[in-house]
Symmetry: C2
Subunit: 393 residues, 2 copies
């Protein structure tokens, strides 16, 4: 009982964590429940829907499989499902009609053969990168529907009625999902993508802003364990940018399916986000390099370090500010007015640093290069990000 209690408490904490990390998850769960319940009513309410009988099953199936977390994902799956069902159903009926002309003996053989051929061909199509990215689910449903129609066609002659009923229930399922996901606490993939973008840039800004102090500052004397942990977390925030590529691509893909919402108009250039994501990631690789320098800082008190300290700290600070401003610009989707000025500053500071480097003798190479190259690259990247910003807005 003691152990049971402990497990329960643990489970409870886990549930709370998953829920508070993103409260939309809770809403989503209820939305799925609601959609399923509504569709189940098809079964009970004969007068209202005209009684689809066992075809209701397809509506339930559709809702369970199609309802995804974001609006874009739901619509993408719903549209894929609807179109694929229609196309495969028509094709299946056509094949069935043609085959039925050949007489009883040839029929099953030909039908099986057509299923084999179509399944193999469609499965192969799924390996095409373009199809895989957008229509993968549609192809699965295409194979499924075709096989079902071709196979069941052999038995029932009322196939047309059944096919029609199924198509309608599937459409009802899709529409239910679409309506609920759009109008009830919608989760827009586009919005998430937008948020991911400016948060990522902000993470870089936070790192660069704090980097100078961390690198050139005094040693940590274990005096304040708490403060160190906080510091650690702000220094590690950028890490997930390194591997966020797949997430960005998935969100972009979904965002394309979404109707206009909020400040995202029709034909919003989602592609630009991928471009921004790419340069952000390039920048994150440099930051990763800088982060490595922190852990291996040596000779922090050498003369050379003192010489470059001022410029480096300014550069790092200024990079941070610029990125922060860019992040805000992306957030509010405005043109980043202050950025060109900042970039000018950055370039000046960087060239100052370079002249300092040229006149100095080498005592400790470790420090100088990393900081400079990193900061320089950052300033360079700020340029690029700035340019892309202009295009995006």
């Amino acid at each position: 009982s003691e152990r049971c209690k402990k497990l329960l408490v643990e489970f409870n904490n886990k549930v709370k964590k998953v829920g508070t990390d993103d409260p939309r998850r809770v809403y989503h769960s209820f939305k799925v429940g609601l959609a399923l319940t509504l569709v189940s009513l098809l079964y009970y309410n004969k007068p209202l829907y005209g009684g689809f009988g066992s075809s209701t099953m397809w509506a339930v199936l559709t809702v369970v499989v199609v309802f995804e977390f974001s609006v874009g994902a739901t619509l993408s799956k719903g549209i894929n499902r609807g179109l694929a069902t229609f196309a495969a159903g028509s094709l299946g009926l056509g094949v069935h009609f043609l085959v039925s002309l050949t007489g009883d003996i040839g029929e099953p053989v030909l039908l099986c053969f057509s299923v084999f051929l179509l399944a193999a061909a469609s499965t192969f199509t799924r390996f095409f990168p373009g199809v895989k990215a957008r229509y993968d689910y549609g192809m699965v449903i295409f194979i499924l529907t075709f096989s079902l129609v071709a196979v069941s066609a052999y038995k029932t002659d009322e196939i047309l009625t059944i096919a029609g009923e199924r198509l309608i229930t599937i459409l009802i399922g899709c529409v239910t999902c679409a309506v609920i996901s759009i109008f009830l606490f919608p989760v827009w993939a586009g919005k998430d993508l937008h948020k991911l973008m400016f948060l990522n840039i902000e993470q870089l800004a936070v790192f660069l802003d704090g980097f100078g102090g961390e690198y050139f500052g005094p040693e940590d004397n274990k005096e304040n364990e708490n403060a160190i942990t906080v510091k650690k977390s702000f220094l590690d925030g950028y890490k997930k940018i390194l591997t966020s590529k797949n997430e960005e691509e998935a969100l972009t893909n979904f965002a394309r399916w979404e109707p206009p919402h909020g400040s995202f108009q029709f034909n919003y250039p989602w592609k630009h986000y991928l471009a921004i994501g790419k340069v952000t990631r390039q920048c994150a690789y440099r930051v990763e390099e800088l982060h490595n320098c922190i852990t291996s800082k040596i000779n922090a008190q050498s003369e050379f370090v003192k010489l470059i300290q001022a410029s480096c700290m300014e550069l790092s600070k200024e990079s941070g500010t610029t990125l922060q401003e860019l992040s805000a610009a992306v957030k509010q989707m405005t043109y980043p007015k202050g950025v060109p000025n900042h970039i000018k500053n950055l370039k000046r500071t960087a060239s100052n640093l370079k002249t300092v480097l040229k006149t100095v003798t080498l005592k400790n190479a470790n420090v100088l290069e990393d900081v400079m190259s990193g900061a320089m690259v950052a300033s360079l990247l700020v340029d690029i990000v700035g340019c892309i910003e202009d295009i995006a807005e």
Copy 2:
């Protein structure tokens, strides 16, 4: 017609490319076709299977949805599907029995409510990271089956027979998929993961091997466009390592579901591959940094460069050789005998380079630091990879 022809040729080329990139895709397509055809026979062969009637549909559905490219993915989905169907079916029947005690009026309300509750709870569970990674599909099927049983239970009294038939057909579908995917040109996720690992290490090796010559060598004089393109491709080979994390995780996940095969025994430590993947990626970030140096090489003829050139080239070459050997060791799953020696060499060369750096005056900082830090990190990583190798074998 001209245009049509052109499109056809283009399509043809695309098909060829997808097919030749990985011929297993063609086999996979035929395997899916075969599995579907076999399952369709359930419909036609009444004497053989005892005639499942419309329940055959479930076998078709299962095959289409469960059959994935690799054995691990297929088994994972199949087992998830089988277990979830059984669990949800039992639960559904139980709920139905309990609810039927309440009488006619309360029944639909209670059933709908139970569907709502279970769907919401299960959907929420899907957000748990552990569940999402391994049992996501199982949860979907759980919701689906429960809803179907709860809803259809209201109508038919022969529910037990139907449920049994469906379970059996689904199991037939799962077994068909499993048998075909395991015994007919199997595609092992574990093998793919293993291959990805040593190929990734090899890419790093190829880059480091060529880096010295590229960086310190003479300028490209456009004399040989072809050679440059070839060079470019070998220098860019490592790029995809930067974002291969998701692929590695997915493959590891699938590999866990696979039965022992080839040289991969039961309980093979797949986790170690994730660890190797992580250090490989760390190394790739450094290589990315080195790659940036190539594009911005300046003052290649300065005195300073001449001073460090020899050590750097040796370091880069030696790193390449060591990684090549490690890659071979991972490939053959043997202990990398020569590596400790190589690492000793690397360390010696690195410390040589450091002493050179200490005695020299600074003319061009750009070159030195990147190369050295990169090569040093590489040597460090070789250590780590070496250690992990020991564990894995």
